[in-house]
Symmetry: C2
Subunit: 415 residues, 2 copies
Amino acid sequence: MSKRICIVGAGTAGLHLGLHLLRHGVEVTLFTERTPDEQRRSKVLSTVAHHAVTVERERALGVDHWPVEEHGYPGHQYRVGPGPEPTAFEGLLHAPSRAVDYRIYQPRLTEDFAERGGELVFGRLSPGDIPSLASRFDLIVVCTGRGPFAEMFDRDPEHSPFDRPRRALCAGLFTGIAQQPVPNVTFHICPGAGEMIEIPTWTDGGQVMALVIENHYGSDLEALAATPYEEDPKAYRDLALDLLHDHYPACFERIDPAEFGPLDGPRGIIQGAVTPVVRRTHTVLDDGTVVLALGDAHVTVDPLLGQGANMASHAAWVLAEEIVRQDVFDRRFVEHVDRRREDRVLSATRTTNMLMENLETLPEDFLGFLGELSRNRSLADEFTKWFNYPECFWDDLADPRRTRAWVARHTPDPV
Amino acid sequence: MSKRICIVGAGTAGLHLGLHLLRHGVEVTLFTERTPDEQRRSKVLSTVAHHAVTVERERALGVDHWPVEEHGYPGHQYRVGPGPEPTAFEGLLHAPSRAVDYRIYQPRLTEDFAERGGELVFGRLSPGDIPSLASRFDLIVVCTGRGPFAEMFDRDPEHSPFDRPRRALCAGLFTGIAQQPVPNVTFHICPGAGEMIEIPTWTDGGQVMALVIENHYGSDLEALAATPYEEDPKAYRDLALDLLHDHYPACFERIDPAEFGPLDGPRGIIQGAVTPVVRRTHTVLDDGTVVLALGDAHVTVDPLLGQGANMASHAAWVLAEEIVRQDVFDRRFVEHVDRRREDRVLSATRTTNMLMENLETLPEDFLGFLGELSRNRSLADEFTKWFNYPECFWDDLADPRRTRAWVARHTPDPV
């Protein structure tokens, strides 16, 4: 039985899906707006690390071009402060994660896809083009969360508690920030104002620091999202240095102000906001063809926990396995896919939403848990490991009783 | 962490759950209306075979008191007719199934439960008693589909397409029906009138035949459900013999009219109808205690495919494993249980509903499939095996394209 699969969007979800299908001899056509060279010259796309579970998939697909031995990082540092009781603690990943500028990563995997016999079609599609594609394909997978494509899939209100962003965002690749002795990711928490994640990231200019700056609305940090960089780069840099000095001193002290700024100027920085949303997993065209939502088209999360690309890769993997295993791409097919991807994807979403809420409102339970984390290395290590397995995050955070049981499991019995 | 589990209802679901939990040292209290002796003297409860997947669980629980080597049957016979083209064909199970009168089975397992340290409480409970139980238990499991308990759980309209029964039912244990040379279950299909399943069943009087007689509303067979046996047993027997002669001649020819009748008279026969329904999997009491629906309280199916007890046992097994694995019995706990039981339970429901519909309306696609089954032994064997794995039924029947692919997999390529 021939299987002709159409993928719209060449992000992590589309690329991992396409590459996996090619390994099983499935006919795949990948539609993408930009050629690899255009991707290389584009603005920074996102700043996300691939965790060990994703790196393992990349190895299996033969696209692990940036081995973690050289390009990876071993764990997280967590810093709460400034404030009356600033604390810092570490957690080790069970296996290294790795961050590569997507302007290197995506074009390289797109080329891998083409070299391995995948059909690449460059150009701009719109949802109106989908029905005419249906006659040529057995299944259409939409994995572009930008623009009107996502709107093909209705919002799932049960899992979409917010109708507006929770943070004003600024993210980018920054020069002039010295690496720490161990190249860890650092989560800076500035109570009442925001969070900032530092991610050592490989670019074509070597390793630089990605900053994901999550600013509470109403705090003075919000200016980092609201002040357009392009209008006055120098003023923006000065503003950023001031705010980092006040709110994230542990990062500021590693900055050389003369060198500080977005890599490649305006191409190195993005400003905006994300409304977290879970959408229906699929839609069915009039002719019966299933259009499946994957990655950002299915679920969009705030970048706080860096789950977007990792859960997209997981869902792509499950989908590829089900495409290989099954012969008919109908609602029953979708059920099998959904049953296998749902828990990880929803858990990543729920955990991200819950931590964003708690980091804003700082309830006592949560502060107590942060305190436990800071004092209990085994707990902090597992917390860090769960970035790979967000369903375990949710198992341990969905209810205060679960969190207490989690802490208790990491607390030696009194002798 | 102590776990105190309350089970309401000592059917297959409640017993398998309770026995499984006891093996893991979990504290269990089982509430049931009737003592084992009262159960032994009751009316026939249901007529259902346990398939190999269920027998395997019974072995693991140490309650396989009726080994299939002696008490089992190896497969199914399917008979379509009378009519212009009566056909008969067979399908072999991959491992034997077994049917035992529940008036032997349930009291014996109830005694096993008590002997192994389970707490048994006899008496009549009502849903109003549940909140007061909540303070004594960490989780309450309701597995009685009869009466007001099921109504604690709202109907799930997405999976409950019917608001009334599809068949007028009569079921019972009958003497005077000779066994076939091989003690198979026989599915009789009388197009336009009904279906009848013969199940060789062990009772305290030896092996007799259970008949599940599924009568289409409006056919003359409906009288078997509508005429109360107790009012005139002799007239009912004559009516039954006449109708079996006309509609199920392959059974009638093995009947000795002088011996024919329900075992134990009125205690051996039940008449009525089942509205198939899927209910919400749980409810949460005001104090936060979860009340979980299991077995008939969760899903009630028509007995056509004999899935009720088998899917109840599956769900009980999954639930027991999750109770052992998890520490907190909250909504997240329920999610894990539901994710593991849902596919089998819904697939059994959907397949039963779909086959009942098709057996009534006899669409051409379906008649073609029946024809294939009758000609293709390998297909008929797999069809028979799927009584153990209803999710495979649904994989192969959910869409006509799936059914065609199923038939094709069992059809040798032309040389």
